[in-house]
């Protein structure tokens, strides 16, 4: 039977042979006889000591690149600018009175409220956002790009503008709001549910974009395999797709939860700043800053700790890679 003792790949797959010979034409093939040595590429002469090329060679041989002039000091300023405020926060924190400050009733209320609203926002984002991400990734419907752009708009929209828009949609006299009020007696502005919705508005796009990226990155042939094994669409999603995109869902959840937790502009505009009802932690910080800087700093430290925890949890996996 036909099998080459090939030059490079001993025992390689026979598809090489098939591919090579199936070109048709003569049976002669290439003129390289078995055992021909292939000469290594010749080494280039090193550049003379006075030539600029030598610098470049040395740099690349050492493995690092030389930055354009001025980049290093500029980058240092950037790092300082970004970290100095955080360092200041840590330095000026009232560490001594921290335990007492943390358990002050106002702080605990704000903390509890923030957790309820942000977890609620995350749940709503997952419930509605994952199916949307699935459709955006898989179904090439008309206007898909437009829908995607609109869905991602809250990510770049100034949050307070988002709050105003929410009022116009869901407020007492809003487009939907008037129906909610008239038919069901439900008001959303200045309620806890309203705060939750404001947070969902800004957080859901993060989840959608991350999960859509994860869906696009996954190997769809696993779903084909599951179909050939008799799995219907729901079973495929539950047992094959979801586990495979779990890292993307986790990353998206972390991002959107952190975003929801930190939301200020939309919350204060749509839901107001009522302690116990809608005064989430960012709002509490803002208020406290005017009266009691210590409480403001304490709350800020809590939020900083949460943010760091999210960062560490994500560990650089902002978007899933295949």
């Amino acid at each position: 039977m036909k099998s080459r003792r090939s030059k490079a790949t001993e025992g390689g797959p026979s598809r090489d042979t098939g591919a090579r010979k199936s070109k048709g034409g003569t049976a002669g093939g290439l003129a390289v006889a078995a055992g021909d040595a292939i000469a290594p590429p010749s080494r280039q002469d090193p550049a003379p000591w006075w030539s600029p090329a030598r610098d470049r060679d040395q740099g690349s041989r050492r493995g690092g690149e030389r930055a354009p002039l001025g980049f290093v000091p500029l980058a240092a300023v950037a790092v300082a600018f970004l970290t100095l405020p955080l360092i200041a926060l840590l330095l000026r924190a009232p560490w001594a009175s921290l335990p007492g400050d943390l358990t002050a009733p106002g702080v605990l209320t704000a903390l509890r409220l923030s957790l309820i609203c942000s977890v609620g926002a995350l749940s709503l984002s997952l419930l509605f956002g994952v199916p949307l991400a699935w459709l955006l990734a898989r179904v090439p419907f008309r206007g898909r790009n437009v829908v995607r752009a609109l869905v991602l708009l809250p990510m770049v929209l100034p949050p307070v503008v988002g709050g105003v828009a929410l009022l116009l949609a869901f407020g007492r006299n809003g487009i939907i709001g008037q129906w909610l009020d008239g038919l069901f007696g439900v008001t959303l502005p200045f309620t806890t549910l309203g705060a939750m919705l404001a947070e969902t508005f800004v957080a859901m796009p993060f989840l959608v974009i991350t999960v859509e990226a994860g869906m696009r990155a996954m190997d769809r042939r696993y779903e084909d395999a599951a179909a050939t094994l008799g799995a219907g669409r729901w079973r495929i999603f539950r047992r094959v797709t979801l586990p495979l995109i779990a890292p993307a869902v986790a990353a998206g959840s972390a991002l959107s939860w952190a975003r929801a937790l930190g939301e200020f502009g939309a919350t204060i505009t749509f839901a107001g700043n009522m302690p116990g009802k809608t005064q989430t932690m960012p709002l509490a910080v803002y208020l406290a800053l005017q009266n009691d800087a210590g409480a403001a700093i304490t709350l800020s430290l809590v939020m900083l700790a949460i943010s760091l925890a999210v960062l560490v949890g994500l560990r650089g996996h902002w978007f899933p890679r295949r």
């Binding site: 003792r5 591919a19 048709g24 049976a27 179909a227 050939t228 094994l229 008799g230």
Partner: protein
């Protein structure tokens, strides 16, 4: 149990138009060069690619019929597929993988696990049941994928190059194992392969696909004695020529003539096949009985076991099979002129 399929579809630059019939309990091997449409055909039979026109019926049950507007979705077809990369679910254990199809078709968890254990025993992987797919070797993964496909008792088993990812050492062993499983399998089987040994040993019937069309179909014996395309001839290592029959001589397109001992009536298009072992090489013009003699140059040498295949070009290209001793004593690798001699007796001619 049988498969009747007429598949017509376009995919990218591929225009697939194939008719296929497989008898009950038969194993059909699908052969062909890259991009011939073999995998697309397999996916179409599995229902993963819709037909543009055609009909697929398995055991009399219509799975797809474009004329009647019938299309059974993939998950409802009684099929099992072993994909080229096996596609074992990475987040499940081997046992869960094999049980997946059984569970999907309605069995309870315990029943599915029992069945999965049975299959794993059958393929010799009982010890790997709780391992994850990434811990398996290539051969183990292949067997796991086969077990998974067989677990649901499919009536049609589709295998896409089941052995191509193996290295040569593991391949022979796995091929024998696969051959045993396929013979024991009661349904219809379609295997895609590139490898001539797999094709010859696994299949009852071979179908050769080139550029979306069937160019030859037949038993392994038929193919090896009467190849009808360059691809098949190359696969089997035979010399194949096509020309017109004229008074005892086959006249090829470029004007070369081959004298055959048992010619066909003149006028028709014919194939002429010459086995390499029937080709003799000489350093000087031979003066003997062979009717077909011409001059050429040895372009390339291949070693196959203890035979050497010499690729001769110039004149009519041909492959000659000689011993290593001959190569050495005649110094065939020096690129000098050689004379090719082929007896008319060794040339078989058949209708194109």
């Amino acid at each position: 149990m049988s498969l009747e399929a007429a598949v017509g579809l376009h995919k990218g630059t591929l225009d697939l138009d194939v008719e296929l019939a497989v008898a009950s309990s038969g194993v059909v091997v699908l052969l062909g060069p890259n991009a011939a449409g073999k995998t697309t055909l397999l996916r179409a039979l599995a229902g993963l690619v819709p037909l543009e026109r055609g009909r697929v019926a398995l055991d009399g049950v219509v799975l797809e019929d474009t004329a009647a507007g019938v299309r059974v979705p993939t998950e409802q077809r009684p099929i099992g597929v072993v994909f080229q990369d096996y596609l074992l679910f990475p987040h499940m254990t081997v046992l869960e993988n094999v049980a997946f199809g059984v569970r999907s078709r309605g069995a309870g968890r315990a029943a599915a696990r029992t069945r999965a254990h049975e299959l794993l025993e059958h393929v010799g992987l009982a010890a790997c049941a709780s391992a994850k797919p990434r811990a398996l070797s290539g051969g183990q993964a292949q067997r796991a994928a086969l077990a998974r496909a067989l677990a649901t008792d499919p009536r049609l088993l589709l295998l896409d190059e089941p052995l191509s990812a193996m290295d040569a050492g593991a391949r022979a062993e796995l091929r024998r194992g696969l051959s045993r499983h396929l013979s024991a399998f009661r349904g219809t089987c379609l295997v895609i392969t590139h490898d001539p040994i797999e094709a010859m040993t696994l299949g009852d019937k071979l179908v050769v696909l080139e550029a979306g069309r069937v160019v030859q179909a037949g038993t392994p014996e038929e193919l090896s004695s009467h190849p009808r395309s360059r691809y098949v001839a190359d696969l089997l290592g035979l010399n194949l020529y096509r020309g017109r029959m004229e008074q005892g001589t086959v006249v090829l397109a470029d004007g070369h003539r081959l004298v055959a001992a048992d010619p066909l009536p003149p006028g028709g298009e014919v194939f002429a096949v010459v086995p390499p072992r029937a080709v003799a090489l000489h350093r000087s013009l031979p003066d003997g009985s062979p009717r077909n003699v011409w001059q050429g140059v040895v372009e390339d040498l291949d070693v196959v076991g203890n035979h050497v295949r010499a690729h001769v070009t110039g004149g009519l290209p041909i492959i000659a099979e000689v011993t290593p001793g001959a190569v050495a004593s005649m110094r065939l690798d020096d690129g000098g002129p050689v004379f090719v001699a082929v007896k008319a007796m060794e040339i078989e001619v058949y209708e194109a």
